[in-house]
């Protein structure tokens, strides 16, 4: 990658934001953090990331989902089309479904929620970086 990619991390847990910052900065990403969807939208006024890392389990439980819908539907294309990777343990701990299950037992990511990937918490730093890189490559 010629220029450093920019990442917006949205998570209500500041420890997660800081840890992700460490991981991402080690791979030369430019990182900004936001503790809530409101803060994230405010950040987006001045900072246009190449990818958003989003936690779903923010205080009200589903705020992350609302963030996705709002960004996709109410913002101009340059923001609405930013790829999002959901970083959460939610599909382990709740039975909210992200993927429709195919008859052959495989899954099709992203058909239910317009996001580009899911990473379970706690994530392996290596896995996380690989996944972000994949999404960015696909998107550019």
């Amino acid at each position: 990658m010629a220029k450093t990619a920019k990442v917006l991390v949205v998570d209500d847990d500041p420890d997660i934001v800081e840890t992700l910052r460490l991981v991402l900065e080690s791979a030369n990403y430019e990182v900004e953090g936001a503790g809530s969807p409101e803060q994230a939208f405010k950040k987006l006024e001045t900072f246009v990331p190449d990818i958003i890392l989003l936690d779903v389990m923010m205080p009200d439980g589903t705020e992350g989902f609302h963030f996705v819908w709002k960004l996709r539907n109410e913002y101009p294309p340059e923001l609405a089309q930013i790829p999002i990777v959901i970083l959460s343990a939610i599909h382990e701990t709740t039975k909210l479904r992200f993927y429709p299950e195919q008859t052959d037992g495989t899954y099709t990511p992203g058909e239910f929620l317009p996001v580009q990937g899911f990473i379970d918490k706690p994530a392996e730093p290596g896995t996380l970086l690989k996944r972000i890189e994949q999404v960015l490559q696909l998107w550019q």
Partner: protein, 469 residues
């Protein structure tokens, strides 16, 4: 009509024995007064003897009443016999009295009615009719016997002339009056008792109703408490999970050298810390799963679940773990196996737990096999997960499905686990109305078998027909 209770029967027996003393005294006094000052031509001493006879058999009755046998049903039957005997004895005594004191002329015949009322209150319906028949027969024997001359007839009114005297009339009125008063006394006493019983019954019924309401309130309270406990458990687990996930991630960041160089000793320590965090996370996940599956019966509807598909997904989920451990996992199903009725996610969790256990406790080179068969009745499918692992000691089997229970060999082998996996399996199977069994041989392996309701073909054609819960 229900029969009189043993308690009432005995009480009435005693009551009539007490009344009979009065009757015996009454006969003696009436004979002396009528034959003496009133000058009726009656056999006074025969009547006095009758009074003494009544008193004498009353002594016998009282003694018999005191000596009723103790045994349950035996005592009741004996008390019933006593009641029949005493009424019959009274009827005979009354017939003798009527015969001695004028036969058909004697107004005391109305006391046959009185005795019949007593019989009706005490005895079974059949016995009461029998006593009424006895009374009628005795009276008929006396009056017809006297009429046809088989018995002597003591004239007490006609002997003194063709017309009744004022005394005769008054005597009739007095006898009828006494019979009426005795009847009122008897029936009102019995009625009062009945009303009292009715009130007691109504009170008892109200009490039962009140207790039933209290039970219902307690039951609702218990359900609410249970729901709150589950909610609380989920909440706590979530709250625990978030910081644990944070810690886990930070440890990995450190271990991977993102915060600086990692000397060997630090790396080892970080690895240990990370492993413990992982264990703790597994425990929290299991707690969450357990609380979820215990709520599940209320939430998710049942659907058709294909077991081969379920097995494929489960094997896929655990493929890496099995490969790392060099344990072969396979599944084979008979053709035409019907789908089972269940909650897909729950069944997936169940199978992943059983399969995971199989892999965990099977040494490298071993295998875990999933199979199934339809029960001959066609109502249920048995799903088996067979491993060639360490096996379970017979003494561990009864407690195997208890929460947090881990077998001695599991603890010794230091394979980490929450001790909740099989509790989760059991909760899921129970939510499906199924059962889970285990067969095992130490050193040879274990087979876990789960019985799940089969979906019948009729149910597969219509979406409106939900599977039975």
């Amino acid at each position: 009509m229900t029969e009189i209770t043993e308690h009432e029967l005995e009480r009435d027996n005693r009551w009539f024995i007490r009344l009979r003393w009065l009757a015996a005294a009454g006969i003696v006094v009436a004979a002396l007064v009528a034959g003496g000052p009133l000058g009726y031509p009656i056999p006074v001493w025969d009547l006095v003897a009758l009074g003494v006879f009544v008193a004498a058999y009353n002594v016998l009755l009282r003694e018999a009443e005191k000596r009723l046998p103790r045994g349950e049903g035996q005592r009741y039957r004996a008390a019933m016999v006593l009641a029949n005997v005493q009424i019959a004895a009274d009827l005979i005594a009354l017939a003798v009295l009527v015969h001695l004191a004028g036969g058909v002329e004697n107004p005391f015949a109305v006391y046959f009615v009185f005795h019949t009322i007593i019989a009706s209150t005490l005895l079974s319906r059949t016995a009461a009719f029998a006593q009424a028949t006895l009374a009628s027969a005795l009276y008929a024997a006396v009056v017809f016997g006297e009429y046809y001359g088989y018995l002597s007839h003591n004239r007490i009114f006609e002997s003194r002339g063709p017309a009744y005297t004022l005394l005769d009339v008054a005597g009739h009125v007095a006898v009828l009056g006494s019979a009426l008063y005795a009847t009122v006394y008897l029936t009102s006493t019995i009625t009062q008792r009945l009303r009292q019983r009715e009130q007691e019954l109504a009170a008892a019924l109200a009490e039962v109703q009140r207790q039933a309401n209290a039970c219902e309130i307690a039951r609702t309270g218990l359900q609410e408490t249970q729901a709150m406990q589950l909610h609380y458990m989920r909440r706590v687990s979530h709250e625990l999970r978030a910081p644990l996930a944070s810690i886990g991630m930070m440890l990995r960041v450190m271990r991977d050298g993102l915060t600086g160089d990692v000397p060997d000793k630090l790396r080892q320590t970080l690895d240990r810390a990370e492993a413990r965090t992982e264990t703790l996370l597994d425990l929290v996940d299991d707690l969450l799963t357990l609380s979820r599956v215990r709520e599940a019966p209320l939430q998710e509807p049942m659907a058709e679940v294909s077991l081969p598909q379920l097995a494929e997904v489960a094997i896929d989920t655990l493929a890496d773990i099995a490969a790392n451990k060099h344990v072969t996992v396979s599944a084979s199903f008979p053709p035409g196996l019907p789908p089972v009725c269940g909650q897909r996610d729950g069944l997936h969790t169940m199978l992943v737990n059983l399969l995971g256990n199989g892999i965990k406790y099977t040494p490298p080179g071993g295998s875990v096999t999933i199979s199934a068969e339809l029960e001959p009745s066609g109502e249920a499918v048995w799903l088996h997960v067979r491993d060639t692992g360490v096996g379970i000691a017979p003494e561990d089997i009864p407690r195997l499905f208890d929460e947090f229970y881990r077998t001695a060999s599991a603890r010794e082998s230091q394979i980490h686990g929450s001790g909740l996996g099989l509790s989760i399996v059991k909760a899921i199977v129970q939510a499906h109305g199924g059962e889970v069994r285990v067969e095992s041989e130490v050193g040879r392996g274990s087979t876990f078998s789960v019985r799940l309701p089969a979906c019948r073909p009729a149910q597969t054609t219509s979406e409106d027909q939900p599977c039975p819960a």
